[in-house]
Structures are given as C-alpha cells and as structure tokens.
Symmetry: none
C-alpha cells in the first residue's frame, strides 16, 4: 500500500496548525575532524529550547549517500517519495516564476551565453546580466516563432530564463544543449526517444532563431537549454493530507516546488522578517505553513563557514515569533546538508527537530548534528516527516482494528 | 524477494525455544516533557537484568507516525507486514471466540444497542449487559433465519457478538451499520462494490429480523454491525518459520490473531499467573510461545499512569519464572505504545528487548524508552523482529554462498 493512500485513509479533520521551517542546506561538517559544524558553532538558544522540549533526529533525504538537489530534497520533506516523483528543472523554473504551465507543455531552463565569432561559448552566463537587462533580452526572444508549436519565453533572473513549448504530442526526453564548458559550441537538442524527436527539432529551431534575433547583442548573443521536462502527475497536498497549505518563500524555485504540490503561494516579501510578518498575517487562513530560508544553503555553497553560522543565528532569532503564534507542531529541518567545507550540497543526514504535543522527549539538550544523532526520531527517511507531523497534530487515526 | 520466502529458504531445524512476551501498549510518554514514562517509572529489576544481558531497541509497528490497531500491531510482531495483510474486525472477533471460520465466510462484529420508540439509538452498548445476559440474547438471535444464506451468531462479551454469513459468492466490502452516535437510527448495510451487494442485503435482512426477535427486550432491542470481513490468505507460522507455536492469551482478540497465523490456542486461564503456569506445563510441546499481557494497554487507555506502572511491575515479577524454563530466545515488547497521557494507542516506537545466546550486548543498563533509544537493535520495523528471533535461536542459515 502506498504511503499517500494510507494517509488519505487515516487522516482526520482537526484545527491544528503545522509549521515547517526549512533552512535550506542546514546540515554541515566541521572544518577539522572532530570539530564543530556550522550548526554546532552557532549560538541558538531558541532552537536548543525547542530541541529540549521536542524530539530530534536526522533525516535522510533520498537514500544513504545520495545527495539531493532542491527538488528531491523538498519533495521528500513534503512527503513525496523523491525516487518516485522526478521533477525536471524546466518545470521547476517555470513553476518558480508563476508561469501557468499546462500538462501538455514541455519546459526548459534557458541560459543566455556569449558566443565568439566561431559560435563557441566564451561566457556561459553572458557576463551575468542584471535582471532588468535579462527582461530586455527576453522581450526580444519573445518575438521568435517556430511553426507548429506555441512558444513562451519568460525571464527568471540574471542570465536565466524559461522557455515553454506548448502543443499536443510533445515529449521531454531530450539532452541538454548546454555543454557546461567554454570554448565549445552549444550542443544540438538530442532526443533520447522517438516521442521526443519532434520536440527536439522545435528546440533546435528555437535556438537558431534566438541566435538570429540576438546577433547584434554583444553579451547575450546565444542561448543554451537544459532540463527539458513535463509537468508530473502528482497529488496535491490538500488531496493527500487534507491540509490547506501556504508557502512563504522568497526564491522562485521553492515557490515552484510548493506550487507543484498545490500549496498556495503567498507574497512573502524579500526577507525572513517579511516572511514571519506574512505568517502572522495569514495565520488564521491556513493549516500548514512552509517557510523557506535560503541563506543557510547559499553561504554553504559560498564556502563561508562564518556566514553560515550567522545565518543560522538569524534563523534562531525568529523562532520566538513563530512560537508566539502557538503552532501545534513546529518542525525545523533542511532539505539537505550544504557543508561550507564542501561548497556544495551533500548526502549527510539533516538535523531535524519536531516540537509539539505528545512528543516523546529524548534527553536532547541542543539542536546540533551530534545531538540529533542521539535523538528520538533516529535516522529516518525524510519522506516520513509529514506522517510524523500529521500524527503529532492529531490528524491521523488508527490503522486497523 | 519477499521476507517470508527468504525465511523459508534459509530456515533450519533446531530444538531451540523462543518466548515472545507481548505487553500490549507497552510504550508510553512522560507526564511532563523530559519526565519519566510509565516504563521508566516502574521498578523492573528483572527486565533491567534482561536488558543488560540482552540487546534493546525500539520497534516501529507500521511506519513512522502511524498508530496501529491491535491487529496490525500483532501481525507485525509475528513477522507479517501489516500493510500487506489487512485483517477485518469481524474476522478477528470470530477467531477470538474460537469460531471455526471458513474461507468463504463473511464475519461481522455485532453490538447490541438500545433503540427508542422511533428506532433511534439511545445506548450504543445496550447498557453493557453481563456476559451471561449477552449469551441469553444471542440465543434468541440464533433463531433468526435469512433465506439464501447460513447464519451463525456467537456471543463475545458484554454487548458484543459475532455474526457469520456462510455461503458461496459472498463478499465483505460493506460499510458499518453502526453510526457511532446516539440519537440517530442504525445505518443500512451499504455495499461498496457490486460483488458485495447480495451480502449487504443479507445483512439488512438479518438486522430487521433481529429487531423483530428482540422487540420485547427493554435494553438490547437492536443490533449494529461493523467490520465486515473475510478470512485473509495468509501463510501459517509453521509454514513460514517451521515453528510449532502456542498462544497463551486471555483475551479473545489476541487468541484470534494467533489463530490467524496458525498458532495453537491453549486454554491459558484468566491471569498472568495462569498463563505462566500453562507455559510451564506445555513447555516441551512447542518451539514458540506467544504470551499476551493485556493490562499495560488497558491501564494506558484508562489514562491511569500509576496503574500502568503497577502492571509493568506485575509483568516484571514473572520474568524469573520464564527464565527458569531456560528459553533460548526471550523477547519482551509491545504491539504499540499506549501512553496513559493520551488514553489511546499511539505511533511512538515500542521498547523491545531480545535476550538469548549470541546477542551483541549494547551497554544498556535498564529496560526503558530512553535506554532502548541507545540500544543495539536501533529503531527497526517490527516485522523484522521474528527474523531476529529466528537468527538468535540458531534457526536461520546463511543467505548466499
């Protein structure tokens, strides 16, 4: 029996409220063996209190040793098996900019690049244009027409845009045209199956037309495409859990992930402070709140241990404001680890705490990787986090007589 | 490969004996965060010794966050995946009173109720008749005939009885007629599929005839039916493990669960003392002994923390008598947690200890939730407990060359 069917069978109505605070890339590593991680270094009195009163553990986003991207990492936290639901980059980007994607569409992430006179890539990001410049170039791209398919081009940020191919009979099993290297020409769009042949041809035509339209630009005179994808078949958060869910994210990607599972995407401003203010404002209207904090990941990817520590402390500072709203279940976790010593996502299990009624306390005295290792949740697959949240929120009945 | 097939392939004959002592609803919660649970409060010198010499852990009956009923909880302990084998209430009740259920039968749990002049339920349990009174009313019900189907009515206890419909082509996908509320009339038996339509009609006729037969009773003048179910396809304990297994339970439900997997149901008396005496008497005749202790669950459901503590201490008292028999493997666990602060079953993992030869001791000094959290079995799915028992009993060979 599938987990979602089981939850649908057992779930019960209740007025309880659940907060899921995701510190992106929360887990870390010490700078020297045996030393302290970012989370262990940070002064986090509020999170430590939560850990003391709650139950802790380490979540495994996908499988031991598997490093997740943002998509699988978040799907797992939302209770969707990340090995079952595979979401392409193009779809994520389209969802992140609020593009009204249809199920028949094929979306791809586009990058503006700078090509030299021989058509070889000089700069894979076209000198990182401003967002305003990005919008300007995208406007030009919007004039591109390809016979037989409807096209949409939308700016994302800097050198990034989304292209959507709309029509019947499209398919997305197509290799990236981005060679991920300079000094070589962009690749053709190679279909990996018969069904994707026609769509790949449309993509090639789009790229050729784009070069024609952009030929006078000095910086962004070419485009590459990656992550061709179609909208997945996925049950909504409300269908699975019966929860009215709100997303309070700042970055497009995470809005996109929340929209994918049918959360309502709120305008949560541009900072953690804005997000928490929004939370207070909409508190009565929803059962579930997904708050996304990007900067623990960003600082980790920058390799800036001290900055990640500061960002964790910033997050700790808003905990009392969330508690003031009196959530029934409050979870703090990450979608994966991003150790600053690695400057990248990693496979290491993610510190997680669950606070609420009827938790079995576990003697944990602080929120840290080593304390979580001894925590009552043990090491668990992230896809069960929502089941635990539902149970502690009194929203799951008994299985079997 | 399925777990049972693997065990069947690897199992080896041996003369070792395994005792599975199930303290129903054993796991608990502290009354205040960070406090002691029932098990942690109880004085359990004998269980503590077992934990010290054995290996401990926390078992997850179904999945993280899922609260099991008695059926799934016990099936998991017996090594049957509770998500694969779903046993309806009617079948459990029928098995529990030793009714010789056939595979073509449909069984339902019946409740006597009191109806007012308008046919609405005044008391869902008919004033909780005595068992003797129950037998009397059941005798009247046994005169009911429904054309086209054979009927059996058997008393369980108080207001509870079992009705079995016997005939070919019956099906059990039928909604409960018990509205689980007073002030409303019992519901009709609504079939959820075409195959169950005829059986539902038989059920409705039975209920109508029952009302006619009982119309002169002041208390039990109506019946409701719930948990329509058929006997599941399930391999016996002997087929899976090659064990000759005995059940020493007092309550019908647990005898029913043991019979379901083909254990021999012994008359184990009415008390823990009776059960242990029976154990000594039949020790030579079986390889495996399932001893069920109900009162850790009952006191938890009553919300009586102190009484649950006392019941745990009562259980501790019989441990030396079991050890005197020299079991090779001795397991103490529960089918789920029943924290007295929740007055209900819960999803929390269950304290478990396994004592026997070749255990890898783990430094555990006592039998308690927090000690089990550090135990050598870790947090494990309950369905693997029997595999561990078989291994420690020297009854499982090597997998692969």
């Amino acid at each position: 029996m599938k987990l979602h069917e089981l939850i649908q069978e057992l779930r019960e109505s209740h007025s309880t409220k659940i907060v899921l605070l995701v510190a992106d890339g929360l887990g870390g590593l010490p700078r020297t063996p045996g030393g302290l991680t970012e989370l262990e270094t940070a002064r986090t009195p509020n999170l430590d209190d939560l850990a003391r009163e709650g139950v802790s553990g380490l979540s495994i986003p996908v499988l031991p040793g598997i490093t997740p991207g943002s998509g699988p990492g978040h799907l797992a936290l939302f209770g969707y098996d990340p090995l079952e639901y595979r979401i392409g980059r193009g779809v994520l980007e389209a969802l992140g900019i609020n593009f009204p994607l249809e199920r028949r569409d094929v979306a791809a992430r586009g990058n503006f690049c700078t090509l030299d006179a021989e058509g070889k890539i000089k700069d894979r990001r076209a000198g990182r244009p401003t967002d305003e410049r990005n919008r300007e170039i995208c406007q030009k791209l919007q004039s591109v027409r390809v016979p037989g398919v409807e096209l949409f081009v939308e700016p994302v940020s800097e050198h990034r845009f989304v292209v959507v191919f709309r029509g019947d009979g499209l398919a997305a099993n197509i290799d990236d045209t981005d060679p991920q290297a300079v000094g070589v020409a962009p690749l053709p769009a190679v279909p990996r199956d018969e069904a994707s042949r026609r769509t790949a041809a449309f993509a090639d035509q789009f790229v050729a037309e784009a070069r024609r339209v952009l030929q006078k630009e000095s910086d962004a005179n070419g485009v590459t495409l990656r992550g061709f994808a179609r909208y997945p078949e996925i049950a909504t958060f409300h269908e699975v859990y019966g929860l009215k869910a709100a997303c309070l994210a700042v970055y497009p990607m995470y809005k996109g992930l929340a929209r994918l599972v049918g959360m309502e995407i709120l305008d949560a401003g541009h900072s953690l402070n804005d997000q928490i203010e929004t939370l207070g404002r909409v508190w009565q209207q929803f059962d579930f709140f997904f708050i996304h904090f990007k900067y623990t990941d960003k600082t980790g990817e920058d390799g800036d241990f001290a900055a990640k520590v500061r960002r964790i402390e910033e997050l700790d500072g808003v905990v009392p404001r969330i508690l003031d709203l009196k959530p029934d279940v409050f979870i703090v976790t990450g979608d994966h680890s991003t150790p600053s010593v690695m400057r990248s996502h990693s496979w290491h299990p993610v510190p997680t705490l669950l606070w609420g009624r009827h938790v079995r306390t576990d003697g944990t005295e602080e929120f840290s990787e080593r304390a979580c290792l001894r925590g009552g949740l043990g090491q668990f697959e992230a896809k069960y986090l929502m089941t635990l949240a539902m149970a502690h929120a009194g929203r799951l009945g008994k299985y079997g007589a």
